[in-house]
Amino acid sequence: MSDACPVTVSVETGDFDVAADTARLCGGRHDIGAVASFIGLCRDEAGQLDALELEHYPGMAEDELKRIAGEAAARWPLLGVVIRHRYGVIAPGAQIVAVICASSHRAAALAATDFIMDFLKSRAPFWKKEHGRRGGDKGWVDARDADEAALARWHQG
């Protein structure tokens, strides 16, 4: 199935446009019946955060995202995958990551999006550091056990 599935991956400082990516995925073809997408945003519930800083491993980050997209395309009959991940300084409310999966049917598009986000969280080499409101460095974000546990969902079946 992955032959028929164009994969686009980017790791950049600049923002991305999910609507433009979706239009590009679907443009000129009538076999796509379902497009699922996920956008991860910089959250600041308590009003304590000045910004997030995202470090990444150049080269490996892109490779891992491509590898994860390829695994999804091998598992589900996808017709297109886009993964965009930013790095650098990101303000509260701004976009960090996007995953878009197109397929003929909804179940494949939704499951693949979920799968890619789970693996991206624990396998793609990105690290978040919080910058506090008063210029204070709040330090590196700890990995959540729940993120690692989420991967187990995909090992059965």
Partner: protein, 83 residues
């Protein structure tokens, strides 16, 4: 071999990368960590929570028992927190 460090591993060691000639008996990722820890306090601090350190050999995830023979770049970093 080129060693590269990320996030708080990088901060604790005090550099982002370095080229090191490893002795012949340093064969696995684990051996590299032992070698570095013996080099100084900054390395010992970086690898103190050794079980939580991840490694990548030529930009692919590996376990700490993986042999390093033939590889050009070895990376150490904390658990990933992207997305």
């Amino acid at each position: 071999m080129r060693l590269v460090y990320f996030a708080w591993v990088r901060e604790r060691i005090g550099r982002a990368s370095e080229d090191i000639d490893l002795p012949a008996d340093v064969r696995s990722v684990d051996d590299v960590i032992d070698f570095l820890v013996a080099r100084g306090d900054d390395y010992a601090h970086a690898f103190a929570a050794r079980k939580s350190i991840r490694a990548a050999l030529d930009k692919a995830h590996v376990s700490s028992s993986t042999p390093i023979a033939g590889a050009r770049e070895l990376a150490f970093f904390p658990p990933m927190t992207g997305g």
